[in-house]
Symmetry: C2
Subunit: 194 residues, 2 copies
Amino acid sequence: MATSQAMTQKPTDRVNGLDTQRFVETVDAVKHDTTLARFEFRARNQWIGGMVTRTSVQDFYGAGAEDRSRAEPFTFTSSEPPVLLGANEGAGAGEVLLHALASCVASTAVLHATARGIRIDSIATELKGEVDLRGLLGLDSAVRPGYQRITVKMAITADCSDAQLDELLQAVRDHSPMYDSISRPVAVVLERVA
Amino acid sequence: MATSQAMTQKPTDRVNGLDTQRFVETVDAVKHDTTLARFEFRARNQWIGGMVTRTSVQDFYGAGAEDRSRAEPFTFTSSEPPVLLGANEGAGAGEVLLHALASCVASTAVLHATARGIRIDSIATELKGEVDLRGLLGLDSAVRPGYQRITVKMAITADCSDAQLDELLQAVRDHSPMYDSISRPVAVVLERVA
């Protein structure tokens, strides 16, 4: 099977490590049937004790079907450092959010660079997020519990001009799903179930 | 050292796996010096190729000092499934965000339950987030790139009434840093550096 598949497949064009033919096919498919664009991502989490919880991620819905590509779930342990009553059993929730944002702005840059024919050499980002613990602890209702500000400094090198890189960064601000989810309000519904 | 420390330490009261004495001391310290409440979390991310990036998390500032409690960084690989042009090298950015939210609402519930003297038996959450790929791909400017809606179903059992659990869930909505960061806008500054 693998051999015959390899023999009948055309050699793949890869730009920035992406299969450009598949990329074009994906965009065309979504253009022709917008229902293929609907995705539902999922996660399950369980409290272990203290500040420690464990998250499992495996199935999702997208491109018109339940995805079956993952034989095993991804699992993550989160906790907090001692100063926040944990014992560093895992990264903290606030740090995990920065990870989500970091990976999203980088991969969005890669997608939009590829669409523009820009070949990227490197992307490295540094993120900082400020939070005031009084919000979490309920000590001052004027202090929000969440991030007051997040800065993302992106160093990016590619075979294009600085002006094109600036335009690419604007595309990231406009199209990164996690940049959007954090910088603009998302309807989050938290409800208790039996 | 360990023996003499154990001998001089008072036996710790633990509720929900948390050191309640330390918890009270933390709240008191922040009340007396609000600058101790200021935290800055950090992450570094590097593009590996295609949709694959790697994030490293270690140092942060909080409680008036640079934290030195982590000898090694936490590292995470993120990618996407084949239908989103990756090869499942790691969970996707959207799933990582759900993980951040899940761990935060659970640990916030534990903190506020402990403050109320509620002993929790179990917390399990299921999260679903809807996103439309047309936003990421820039195919329709009326479609936001990020989550359109996230639902969090929390099953929680504890030594208290249903009314107290409902009140606890409201405290989570009001005080969870990641619930706040996702449901309300955060100032995110993305800039290019040399």
